[in-house]
Amino acid sequence: MAKIVSKGAVIKQDIASTLTAIAQCESFGSSGAGSESVKCSTLDTIGNGHEYISTGWAEGGTFDVTLQYDSELAGHQSLTDDITTPVERNYSVTLTGGTEMTFTAAHIELGFTGTIDDIVKADISLKLDQLIAYTT
């Protein structure tokens, strides 16, 4: 079984129809993705357990990335462009072993954090339109 390391992970953004590296990822993670179901218990339901049925839909969740922030870098300006001019955009996170997670973000949230003994970090949260392109 392959061990996939995170060191050297890069986030790429769709810029003028190319996927261009914009920053190194300090950390990254996907959350909230999953298939959806609906509760469908009725008086005919046997036992106390609720019944659920798949809706046939899936939620893409969000993809979160933390990076060292530098407002002078064009790559980081390209992220804030999407706050001032909201647009749906393609992204990918690429690892050194060649693993790539590709997705489309419907919107972006970007915040900063700074502490006296650390450099300024940017926390980005990307809301997925549909799903990550999972390997199948």
Partner: protein, 135 residues
């Protein structure tokens, strides 16, 4: 506006402009260096260090000196390889070329390990001499 790529760039999903596009060994579509991209955000490619202006509009929108473009190109080279910021100087000094798939350093032309090996060897020889001198 237009920008001319100076490095190969991966084509984004759903892009319909397929001129100058090739499929590489990784199975992905790439624009090759030299391809001219016409797009309203083409200036960002120049600012990111992957292209140079290909028309007056792009030149004016980028508003960068040649020196600034070279700096952006060098930075982009390091970002694209995933070089950690604390390793920038080691990359610039030629100590590392990047990281392998296990996250280990890929030695560059000025990788310091060879010098360390020489030192270890000489230390070993000194110890051997010391042993000989003992009664």
């Amino acid at each position: 506006m237009k920008a001319k790529l100076i490095v190969d760039c991966q084509v984004t999903t759903g892009a319909d402009a397929l001129a100058d596009v090739v499929v590489k060994e990784d199975g992905k579509r790439w624009y090759l260096a030299g391809a001219v991209i016409e797009h309203e955000r083409a200036h960002r490619l120049v600012q990111m260090g992957v292209a140079e202006p290909a028309d007056a509009e792009c030149t004016l929108t980028c508003c960068m000196t040649t020196e600034q473009m070279k700096k952006a190109q060098l930075h982009q080279e390091m970002v694209a390889k995933g070089i950690l910021i604390e390793d920038y100087q080691r990359y610039l000094d030629g100590e590392i070329l990047g990281y392998d798939e296990d996250g280990n350093d890929i030695p560059g032309p000025h990788w310091p390990e060879a010098e360390d090996d020489d030192e270890e060897e000489s230390d070993y020889l000194i110890e051997e001499d010391d042993c000989d001198e003992q009664p």
